[in-house]
């Protein structure tokens, strides 16, 4: 039975079937991988680069980064403070969801992009206080439309920087490379 199967696979038609099978598996895997590299769908195609070009600081919209664990996503009230004075807000199709959110009072359901798993406890404040700039982890936002991650936030990424910033200071290294600093 198995010998007959192998014999069939060895003829040209069988080889083509094997090739198609391999291609199918490979393309599904490649598609699966590509979905993890794409920025998620957002309710509004928020252009980071336009806002940064106007000179708006990161901390104006994400003030939590300097104060606590979460940087925060602004409510539509903050967007509206500027946007109600801009004529384009009334006409632009892209901004229609913002106008609707303000009028109905329902929050915009933004999709978080930069995330860490539940068992990791990240604190923005400590990183800003240590002199890190936003773009060191989140990339240059003046070049992107919808926020996307320039790198995967995995433990190697965090730990490399922690060890580098500890330098020769053993006490600081103990603290920064300690499991309990992030996992609890």
């Amino acid at each position: 039975m198995i010998k007959r199967l192998f014999d069939w696979l060895k003829q040209p038609l069988g080889l083509i079937a094997v090739g198609i099978g391999f291609l199918a598996v490979f393309s599904v895997a490649a598609y699966g991988l590509s979905t993890t590299q794409k920025a998620p769908e957002q309710p509004i195609q928020f252009p980071h680069k336009t806002h940064i070009a106007f000179g708006i600081q990161c901390l104006y919209c994400h003030p939590g980064a300097a104060k606590g664990p979460a940087a925060g996503i602004p409510s539509q009230a903050k967007c509206w403070a500027c946007h109600q004075q801009i004529a384009k807000t009334e006409t632009s199709e892209l901004l229609a969801p913002l106008k609707e959110a303000v009028e109905s009072g329902t929050p915009i359901q933004w999709v978080p992009v930069a995330q860490v798993p539940d068992f990791v406890h990240f604190n923005h404040r400590a990183h800003i206080a240590a002199g890190k700039n936003c773009e060191e982890c989140h990339g240059d936002m003046s070049k992107v439309t919808i926020a996307e991650n320039p790198q995967v936030f995995n433990m190697g990424f965090c730990l490399n920087c922690h060890i580098k910033s500890a330098g020769e200071d053993q006490a600081k290294l103990n603290k920064l490379a300690d499991c309990g600093t992030c996992h609890y």
Partner: protein, 246 residues
């Protein structure tokens, strides 16, 4: 520049194991056994409700429990005082060397026994090797019907099935207090924060704080002559002192 391999896993020095950083004092003479600490701990640390069936199998999950024993022979039996039992955060812990996945490690920075949930593969060696029997294992993904998920503490990981867990000395509160102190440019003050069990105790039987600070309340209390450390003879260097019959 130092690398991960340079992290010195030196032999734990005895003085270091004895010293520690965070400690607790529990006064059994004022403990009424009201279980407020047990409830507070479960709420603070997202401990699941196991239910009667699994509890019957001895799979109940608590990071702190109130123990009571019979003393003497019938009919002259006497109840021992209430004894809150939680992880003793041993300086030389028996749970640590047996973990094949390095999930239960000693924190160099905080001098605590850590449980790293994402490393744990659920061999349960640590729980079997703990002389205080204070580790609990997630035998299932226990159901939390609505609206119970609303009271999750966002600062603590919600553990999944197959993971060991235990008292952390409320390390999330330690980090929060340290972060707050650092943002204000000062050191953490004694009594500024406390563990959930100590906070909930209506009789103030539990005191938590720095034992390496000679000025702190907990280090002064732990020097009292009638203080007892449980199973000290095993060489675990527990960091919780009990008062009984003082």
């Amino acid at each position: 520049m130092a690398t991960v391999s340079d992290l010195k896993i030196t032999e734990l020095k005895l003085s270091e194991a004895e010293g520690g950083k965070w400690g607790m004092v529990i006064d059994q003479d004022i403990c009424t056994g009201c279980q407020a600490c047990v409830a507070a701990c479960a709420m603070e640390n997202n401990i699941p409700f196991v239910g009667d069936e699994d509890s019957g199998y001895g799979r109940s999950m608590h990071w702190i429990r109130i123990e009571r024993f019979w003393e003497g022979e019938y009919p002259e039996v006497k109840m021992t005082p209430n004894q809150p039992m939680l992880c003793q955060q041993c300086g030389s812990a028996t749970c640590e060397p047996v973990c094949p996945a390095f999930a239960t490690v000693h924190s160099q920075a905080e001098q605590l026994n850590l449980q790293v949930y994402n490393r744990c593969v659920g061999t349960r060696y640590c729980a079997n090797n703990c002389p205080y029997q204070v580790r609990s294992f997630n035998w299932r993904d226990y159901q939390r019907p609505e609206p119970l998920p609303n009271q999750f503490n966002p600062d603590v990981t919600v553990r999944r099935r197959g993971v060991m867990e235990k008292c952390t000395f409320c390390i999330q509160r330690i980090h929060k207090a340290q972060d707050k102190a650092k943002s204000e440019g000062r050191e953490v003050v004694d009594g500024e924060f406390t563990a959930a069990c100590a906070q909930a105790c209506p009789a103030n039987a539990i005191t938590f704080g720095r034992i390496d600070d000679p000025e702190s309340l907990v280090s002064q209390l732990s020097k009292q002559a009638h203080g007892v450390k449980h199973l000290e003879e095993l060489g675990t260097f527990p960091h919780i002192t009990y008062f009984k019959g003082g």
